[in-house]
Symmetry: C2
């Protein structure tokens, strides 16, 4: 069975490039659908260059526009929101650490990011990141939302539901399930994970570095069940990590978080980790990435000259019909059974 | 591991309909690409109704047009071309039986089909089928080829290769890799198999009944390595089945032919055969089927009132990039390893 998994990963590697496909203009809906069909990422260099957000979102503009707003901020000690993290009991086992969330006045939040980015040695170490991922752009930042399109036309045209019969061929288009705004600095990293969404990711300020692994590389990432834990403010104003189960809110287990880090490949891997070939892509301001559903991604970032990193992403529902979703689960089940045996 | 395979098949069944999707007009290239993306078949009722072949291909027309042509005919005793068949040694084991092929004058071939169809009791029993599957419509039947389109527009527009960079976005379109003509009667059946092609299948005369199984059902079909064998004329004019190895032309082994028959589900199955849910569709004259790459299909047929069954199919190259092909091979490898163990 080990051979079957090895053959899966190596044959995927042989049939697919590990270099990102670069386009210099947005694809048509049909061209986009060809990428969706083969579950293959691409980047459109400068695809969002004409957006108002690219032109206008200076620090001064953001602070002025949101001068009186309170925003939801994820707070962690190490920039490790939603990341496998050593258990607070010191045992060395891992938990899935969720951030402390609190409302902060937007200008104060932005000043904190910039101060920490420009003067790391003299700044507090806790890491703050606006990254609610709950359709926060229209809901929490309605004053910024008009600066970007409500949807990406090539994506919503292409991803409209396939009619189940010709009587329902009306041209309904798939609007995004969520449009998310991300504001942080270089201290925040998003740990390797995957989403059941077709994702269009657009960099507005700073740069973002993606490490991508396809669904066929599931056996590489060492997905295991972790107990959930959440940071909270301690009495002294610091942060302590508390297991979710200790608060009585459910059993705390998060199913299947990858604990392997493609940037530290020798640690916490499986016998197949060395076979995975990551696709690496750096997004600059105005670049647009298609991140296909069920691809693992790790994201780190660098700030623009003003000391912040800003991005917007659009999540469109993935199609659970067809073979991809059941096949992906099958690979996980086979890999899991063989990790135990091997 | 049995559980993983069971879960693969049952979750595929839960997420996908086992009823064929019916359209009453051809899809656009984008609509078609959505079906390709989810590897899901559909039928267009009357999609070819306007073709010259539908209007003109009477027996009289075909005999007149091809009055002086010799055509390649596949001859078998039971309509079992390319089918698992009991070994000629009487042991009961199976071989992969390939037809005897010979040139016959087209009018005589057609008369044979019709006579056998209308008077089965007083006709010879050997079964004849023009089904060369080597792009035979333009190559072997150039006089008939102009009666059908050289390609299906929605398919060749949609299936054009994805450019690997924006410098190659010229609108080159994928023409079919092969266009095949099939002429036979109700005695011929095509055994369950699959092709690494995107397939558009069009019924011209008579009806065809397809039993379709998706790639996720690979563990159901009992694909095993069979020895090849070929029918040849015996001294008495009958047919005898000769193992390929006995002729010295290679080792004769055909990799991975399914030996399970979805219409005889209790025989020659695996422990998973009962889980498979087939999609069944009947094509009438002028109907057009999209048969996605790597789907298993068994085909049987009934004649039109003139006593023949005629169809044309278009094979377009499948995309070996993306997850479908490696995942399909992976399922086969896991199923095979577990059939041995279980």
């Amino acid at each position: 069975m080990d051979d079957a998994i090895t053959e899966l990963i190596t044959s995927y590697n042989e049939l697919n490039s590990s270099s990102i496909i670069e386009l210099d203009q947005e694809p048509s809906p049909l061209e986009f659908m060809r990428f969706v069909a083969k579950n293959t990422p691409f980047v459109v260099r400068g695809g969002a260059a004409g957006w108002k957000a690219i032109r206008d979102w200076s620090v001064a503009y953001l602070k002025e526009t949101l001068a009186n707003e309170q925003v939801n901020v994820a707070v962690t000690p190490f920039g490790n929101a939603d990341a496998p993290t050593p258990h607070p009991d010191g045992s060395g086992s891992l938990v899935f650490a969720k951030p402390h969330e609190e409302l902060q006045p937007f200008p104060k939040f932005l000043d904190y990011l910039i101060q920490q980015e420009h003067h790391p040695d003299t700044s507090p170490s806790e890491v703050r990141y606006a990254q609610t991922q709950n359709n926060n752009l229209p809901l929490e930042y309605p004053l910024l939302a008009p600066c970007v399109p409500a949807s990406i036309p090539f994506a919503h045209i292409a991803l409209s539901p396939t009619p189940s019969s010709s009587s329902t061929t009306s041209p309904t288009h798939a609007l995004p399930d969520a449009t998310n705004l991300w504001i942080g600095n270089s201290r925040s990293t998003t740990a390797l994970h995957r989403d059941a969404y077709e994702n269009i990711y657009v960099q507005i300020r700073g740069r973002k570095s993606f490490v991508l692994l396809p669904p066929a590389c599931q056996p590489c990432v060492n997905e295991i069940g972790l107990w959930g834990a959440t940071y909270r403010r301690s009495g002294s104003g610091g942060l302590e990590l508390v297991l979710d189960g200790d608060e009585g809110d459910g059993d705390g287990e998060v199913p299947f978080a990858p604990v392997w880090d493609p940037d530290r490949p020798a640690e916490r891997g499986t016998k197949w980790s060395g076979l995975g070939r990551a696709v690496r892509v750096m997004l600059g301001e105005g670049d647009m990435l298609y991140l296909p559903c069920l691809w693992y991604h790790k994201v780190s970032q660098a700030c623009g000259e003003e000391g912040v990193c800003v991005a917007v992403n659009y999540w469109y529902d993935m199609d659970f019909g067809g073979p991809l979703y059941p096949f992906s689960n099958f690979v996980r089940a086979v890999g899991k059974a063989n990790s135990k045996g091997g």
